[in-house]
């Protein structure tokens, strides 16, 4: 016998289910009067520094249909590349930018919209700079554990070419699934759950 490491197991995930709006965006879901407004519905205010951008997109299933009951969260650095988080040790982020947003996909056509700013670059562990990116986290009925991926920008070809995460993707056409379409200030990012265009999802 040896000593027991004593680590606990992470609580297993379960699907967010079809009624995720009740818990996470109740005002959107038709339950008003409990919370003043839905958390994460606004990331910026009039004083936020940086280049304003809009990111729209859809989450598309294996039959080509957009999910109309999904919930997306994003997490990103501010325009200077700093996160609004106590674990950010490199400096103080813009106090007028939350860095975190939450948006349900539309019940009509499945689109999501985030009004945010373009993030700055952030160092990888070895000091190389990563290209500007936004972390995406997707939950929905039928998704058993939240799916994580990243959006990169189409107008950052040089930075993308040296990005350590993009470089780890073996097949070039797969890396392209992480690069948004459109151009400043309106980007479009479709997330494909399956098929030819399946988005690269992260175990990170």
């Amino acid at each position: 016998m040896v000593q027991n490491l004593g680590y606990l197991k992470e609580t297993p995930s379960q699907t967010a289910g079809p009624y995720v709006h009740i818990g996470l965006t109740p005002n959107f879901g038709g339950i008003s009067g409990v919370y003043e407004r839905d958390l994460g519905s606004s990331m910026v205010n009039e004083k936020t520094l940086g280049e304003r951008i809009t990111v729209t997109g859809r989450v598309i299933d294996g039959a080509g249909a957009p999910l109309r009951d999904a919930l997306i969260e994003i997490w990103q650095a501010d325009a200077a590349g700093l996160y609004n988080s106590p674990s950010e040790m490199r400096g103080a982020a813009d106090p007028n930018f939350t860095g975190w947003g939450r948006c349900p996909t539309s019940a009509e056509d499945g689109t999501f919209v985030f009004e945010t700013v373009k993030p700055g670059r952030i160092p990888f562990k070895d000091g190389r700079l990563m290209a500007p990116h936004i972390t995406f986290w997707i939950v929905a009925r039928g998704i058993n554990i939240g799916l994580q991926t990243r959006l990169y920008f189409p107008d950052e070809a040089a930075a993308n070419a040296e990005d350590p995460l993009l470089q780890r993707i073996e097949h070039r056409h797969r890396a392209e699934t992480l690069v948004a379409g459109g151009r400043a200030p309106n980007y479009h990012f479709d997330i494909h759950l399956q098929g030819e265009k399946e988005t690269v999802f992260l175990d990170i």
């Binding site: 197991k9 009740i22 339950i31």
Partner: protein, 249 residues
């Protein structure tokens, strides 16, 4: 954020997720997962600053009744119908350390198994005094508590006769975005847990048992509400041995 201000922020990368403990994306017994599951291998990578950091929420977002589902949607002087229960527990990380300042959001069906949602079509009645959502933030010891009614079981379209056992949905934020988790809590002694295709997406019975809250008789409030205890474990952080030490620790 006030609860965590005096602590030294933790900056280590998180333990790799044990994907065999979690349900797989593709679990055909839960039919909706068939077209919504990625089929290619995930790209595995150690955390970067983008995953080590995460949003933290202050108590200022909380309203007085946010952790009281019996009253937060009810008309003044009225309350939700159902068996009154207290749900409490701690949020810990895999190293057993309390996660202070963790935002928990929860949602559930009413006592008859009916959700207040436009897409819900179950014939059970709505309760005019029950909304079904609540939230709270863990204290310095990682502890949380809320009051609600015990949700009912409900049928759902999957197999011809599939029912969900009574459950409460939980959404959890830790200190890093890589800890983000959504799960469900079940109730001790419910025989339907072992018949449910969504529970069954989890392969290991010990992992399922981690989602079953025991009746906490000691904390039951006499003549008022029974208590259930549900502890939640988030990914733990590696010690920053021989790694960058921005504070010289």
């Amino acid at each position: 954020m006030s609860d965590t201000e005096n602590r030294r922020p933790e900056t280590g990368a998180f333990f790799q997720r044990d994907r065999d403990w979690h349900p797989p994306a593709f679990a055909p017994g839960y039919k909706t997962s068939v077209l919504r599951s990625p089929r290619k291998a995930l790209l595995s990578l150690d955390n970067t600053i983008s995953e080590i950091t995460g949003p933290v929420f202050g108590h200022s977002i909380l309203g007085e009744l946010d952790n009281d589902l019996i009253h937060n949607f009810a008309k003044p002087g009225e309350s939700a119908i159902g068996e009154r229960i207290i749900v409490h527990g701690r949020v810990l990380d895999e190293r057993g350390r309390p996660v202070a300042g963790a935002l928990l959001e929860f949602w559930q069906a009413n006592a008859g198994g009916r959700y207040r949602h436009k897409k819900e079509s179950y014939l059970a009645a709505l309760d005019p005094n029950f909304g079904g959502c609540g939230r709270t933030i863990t204290d310095e010891n990682g502890s949380y508590v809320f009051r609600t009614i015990r949700p009912g079981a409900y049928p759902w379209p999957n197999g011809v006769n599939d029912w969900r056992p009574a459950h409460i949905h939980f959404s959890v934020f830790g200190h890093g975005f890589a800890q983000r988790l959504i799960t469900q809590m079940y109730f001790e002694g419910d025989p339907m847990i072992w018949k449910c295709p969504i529970v069954g997406t989890i392969a290991d019975a010990r992992a399922i048992e981690q989602l079953i809250a025991p009746l906490d008789w000691a904390n039951t409030i006499p003549m008022d509400a029974r208590a259930y205890k549900f502890d939640i474990v988030l990914r733990g952080r590696r010690s920053t041995f021989f790694e960058n030490r921005p504070e010289g620790n």
